[in-house]
Structure formats: structure tokens, C-alpha cells
């Protein structure tokens, strides 16, 4: 099927657009951007960024007088800013600043600084908007400065003061947190900090003052390159040091669970064996915490997505990836009861989690110790969760904690009077509902625990 369609998110920049041809992502460049493109190519600017793995590499497919087509390397799964953990967000911000500094040194400048220009690939942040670089004009301020503040500095400072969950705000503000709102949400003491005062509070004031200048009477002032480099460097220094106030206690999560060492080892052995049996190359671990079980898989995986509702767990996973220089895991934050929606113009600019999953089509979905949360905390019936998993999985490895499991008991007890409503939570009902959508390939109880592992295959998959 030839699908020569322009990507729905690619309409803001007149320099070119992204399209899909036979399932491959390509980028068309218009003559208006030829000069920049040629300069970036011939000066070795692109090559240098490719070699440092900071910009997604591309190859030129065709070059005519009215259109150049390039093909960027495929990134199997795009995550969005509202799905990043705190340190992932930080890295994306630092990457953008790094690129702007390097650009300035080479006579270029980033013409935009949206957080959606960054993706995570092979264990690190990578810039994906090849056409964002323009020529630097001597003594002009950075056009994308405000965008950088509303897309990066703002969300990060909010996360610092109000917790990592503030990063989710980006799902409502596709063009960054409104600067006035951002300033109003920060504690008063931030006005005493010269860095935050000038970059956020004063910026909000100036924007407010000048936003009714419809005649364009006020003139942008000149700014030397040195001045701009100072802004970039001070943003970099500040963001690099920024941390969360909340404690991340995820490191010892598995010490707190009710697994005996034997059961833990057996569980990971079962997973490992099944992954090998189905010869999986790609997988998603839904509710994968810090990626512990994915790391215990011995099969070589090409791409493993590990998502969790807890920003701290994802962050812990991300730090581990950085420390071990792992390239096959992409972590992200996801609430399975409220997965990322499709947003932007016509609800098409940023794709929903479900659609991205359908495209990614993982060989295996892991759902370990997650069904009781979905069923008991989320009131999602077995029928509904079975339907959900069947919609994108080629195989499903699911762990079912029985009614007597201590976690299940804890969740049930927290329901108090409502507890009787959950009489349906039993192994029999689980199997009845899931076998409507899946065939059972294997079933294995974990010894010395109240948990049962299933390897399932959706019935519609041949």
C-alpha cells in the first residue's frame, strides 16, 4: 500500500514536511530552505551532530530543483514530553541548549525550541527536527527563547516545586505552559532568585506589556552573540543542577514486595523462557516499574518499552539506562487507566498511546503485577482489560495474583464497605474472560506465592 501522506503534525514549519511512503518516514524540503540545508550539509554541521548522536541521522534520497527528500533513521517509538520522567525531561532541555550553543558557534541558530523536537532513542535524547536550524543573524536575540522557557524551563521548575506530576501539564499545552500562568504558579521566593526572576517573572511581565502592541511599534533590541551565549550557558547550568524535592524511593521497591527470593527468581525464569520460545524481538512492559524484569531477559531484544505510572520509577529506570549505557530500553510514564490521548489540531498532531502501540506492534506484552491494580483500583473488569491487551499484543505474558495474595488483600481492604463488589476477582473469572479473547499457550503457578503466570495469544492473530 502506498501511503504518500503528509504527517498530521507537520504543518507549522514552511521549510518542508514529513510524510510516510510505504510505511517509511521521509522528509521533504522546499526551496525556501535549500540554502540552509546545503550549508548545514556541506559545512559538516549535520555530520558532526550525527556522530555525536545528537540529531537523528538522515540520508538524501532525491534532489531536484523544487524538492529535496531525505530519509531519517527510523525511531521505533516516539515518546512525548508528557510521558517523560524528570531526568528525561532535563536531558531533552540540555540537548536543546547544547545544540543552540553549537549552532551559534557555527553561524546557525535554532529557529524553534519545542519539546516535541526531541525523542528518546537508544537510551538517550535525540533531536528529530532536522529543519530547525537556520542562519544566525548577527546581534539578534534568540527567536526561540520564549518557546524554550514555556516548553522546558517552565515545566522543569514547576516539577521542582510541585512534583514530577506537573510535567503532565504539557499534555494540555501543546505550545508550552502559558508564561503568565507559569509565573503565577511559582512560589513568591522565586522572585528573589535573579535567574528565575529574569527568565520567568520578568519575561511574563514583558510579554504582558507588549502583547497589545499590534502596530509593531516596539523594537526588538540588539543582543550580542556573547550575550546570547551567556543566556544559554546560565540556562544550562541551572537546569543541569535542578532536582526534584520529593524523594525517590523506588530503588528498594522490590525489597518491599511480598516476593520471596525463590518466587522472584522463578518468575523471571518463566518470563525469560517464554520470551525465548516466542522469539520476541520487541516488547512492552506495562507497569514495568524500573525495568527489573526486562533486564533479566536473556534473549537479545531490539527494542523494549517499559512504562509505569510512577514518574520516580521511570526516572530510576532511565538513570540505570544511562549508567549502564543500555540502548534497547525506552522508558516512559504512562497511566494505563488514562493513557496519553491524541492531541493537537484535529486530534492528530500527537498520536494516542493506543495508536502508537498498534504501529509498534510488540512481539510480547508483559503485564506483571498490574491486573489487580487495574481491576481493584481502577474497577476495570477482566473483560475490558482483556480487550485492551488483545488490541495491540501478539503475545501476552500476564501475572495474576490470586485473591489471597497480600497485595490483593490490601487493595480489597482499602475498599471497606465496597469490598463485596469485587467478589468477581477470582482466577476462574479471570480465565473465563481472558479465554474469550486469547488462547492459553502456557499456564504456570509460581511456587510459594499466590500468583499464576499465563502466556496468551490473541485469537484474532494467525
Amino acid at each position: 500500500m502506498i501511503d504518500n501522506s503528509k504527517h498530521a503534525s507537520s504543518f507549522r514549519d514552511p521549510s518542508g514536511y514529513i510524510f510516510t511512503e510505504e510505511g517509511v518516514i521521509k522528509r521533504a524540503i522546499f526551496p525556501i530552505y535549500f540554502k540552509q540545508y546545503n550549508a548545514l550539509t556541506s559545512s559538516g554541521f549535520f555530520d558532526s551532530l550525527f556522530k555525536n548522536k545528537l540529531l537523528v541521522p538522515h540520508s538524501e534520497i532525491t534532489k531536484t530543483e523544487d524538492k529535496i527528500v531525505i530519509q531519517p533513521d527510523n525511531i521505533p517509538f516516539i515518546t512525548y514530553p508528557y510521558e517523560w520522567s524528570f531526568n528525561m525531561y532535563k536531558e531533552a532541555a540540555l540537548l536543546t541548549l547544547k545544540l543552540q550553543k553549537y549552532s551559534l558557534e557555527k553561524g546557525f541558530s535554532l529557529k524553534d525550541a519545542t519539546a516535541f523536537n526531541v525523542a528518546f532513542h537508544e537510551g538517550k535524547a535525540i533531536f528529530i527536527d532536522t529543519l530547525s536550524f537556520d542562519f544566525y543573524q548577527e546581534n539578534t536575540p534568540w527567536r526561540a527563547y520564549k518557546q524554550f522557557i514555556t516548553h522546558f524551563l517552565g515545566p522543569l521548575v514547576l516539577a521542582h516545586y510541585h512534583g514530577a506530576q506537573s510535567l503532565k501539564l504539557m499534555s494540555n499545552f501543546i505550545d508550552g505552559i502559558p508564561i503568565k500562568m507559569l509565573a503565577s504558579m511559582l512560589p513568591f521566593k522565586t522572585k528573589m532568585n535573579p535567574f528565575l526572576y529574569s527568565n520567568i517573572h520578568l519575561l511574563a511581565k514583558f510579554e504582558d506589556k507588549h502583547n497589545e502592541d499590534y502596530k509593531g511599534e516596539s523594537k526588538a533590541t540588539a543582543l550580542s552573540k556573547k550575550g546570547q551565549l551567556n543566556i544559554i550557558q546560565s540556562l544550562y547550568d541551572y537546569i543541569k543542577k535542578l532536582s526534584l524535592k520529593e524523594h525517590s524511593e523506588w530503588g528498594n521497591y522490590y525489597d518491599k514486595t511480598n516476593y520471596s527470593t525463590d518466587a522472584f527468581v522463578e518468575k523471571s525464569a518463566i518470563i525469560d523462557m517464554w520470551i525465548e520460545n516466542v522469539q520476541a524481538k520487541t516488547l512492552i512492559d506495562v507497569g514495568g516499574n524500573d525495568g527489573t524484569f526486562v533486564r533479566k531477559i536473556n534473549t537479545d531484544l531490539k527494542q523494549a518499552l517499559v512504562c509505569d505510572i510512577d514518574n520516580n520509577a521511570v526516572d530510576f529506570n532511565y538513570k540505570t539506562i544511562r549508567e549502564n549505557k543500555e540502548t534497547f530500553i525506552t522508558p516512559f510514564v504512562l497511566d494505563v487507566l488514562n493513557p496519553s490521548a491524541a492531541i493537537g489540531f484535529q486530534n492528530k498532531e500527537r498520536d494516542s498511546f493506543i495508536n502508537r502501540m498498534k504501529d509498534f506492534a510488540p512481539d510480547v506484552t508483559l503485564a506483571l503485577a498490574v491486573i489487580h491494580h487495574m481491576s481493584l483500583s481502577g474497577n476495570v473488569t477482566f473483560e475490558m482489560s482483556a480487550q485492551f491487551f488483545a488490541s495491540f499484543s501478539k503475545h501476552l505474558v500476564i501475572e495474576f495474583p490470586k485473591r489471597n495474595d497480600s497485595w490483593v488483600q490490601r487493595l480489597l481492604n482499602s475498599k471497606v464497605d465496597f469490598k463485596d463488589h469485587f467478589d468477581w476477582y477470582s482466577l476462574e473469572n479471570f480465565e473465563a474472560a481472558y479465554t474469550t479473547y486469547f488462547e492459553v499457550i502456557e499456564k504456570k503457578p509460581i511456587a510459594n506465592s499466590e500468583r499464576v503466570m499465563f502466556l496468551l495469544k490473541p485469537k484474532h492473530v494467525k
Partner: protein, 65 residues
Amino acid sequence: MHLLYFDPGLGAMIIQAVVAAVAGVILFSKGLMYKIKTLLGFSKNQEEDIFDDIEIKDQDSETKL
């Protein structure tokens, strides 16, 4: 030539001169403090950091993996 396809914010364009001045002062004083601390012999141990500094190496230099 700039491709003006989003509003950079007029206020944001004007204010950058002020922001740059503040940044200059911050960077200068930090640099000064660092020099003083080094001279007096209590420079901080290098913390373990998962992120590099802002410099990007040119293509002819070795590539990081």
C-alpha cells in the same frame, strides 16, 4: 532570512538583553567563587553526573559511544 512561522513574543525578544546581563553577572560571580575556592583549596569533589557539559565535539574528534 527568518522563517517567521510562530510568534516569538515581542516582549521575549526585548527582554533578552536584560536576561543576558543577569546571566553574565551570575556566570561571572560563579566563575569567581570557583577560582577563590580552588585557590583556598576547597574545591568541591566532582559529583557523579549523568549529563555531560554543554560542549559538543566537532566531527573529527573521537566519537562517544
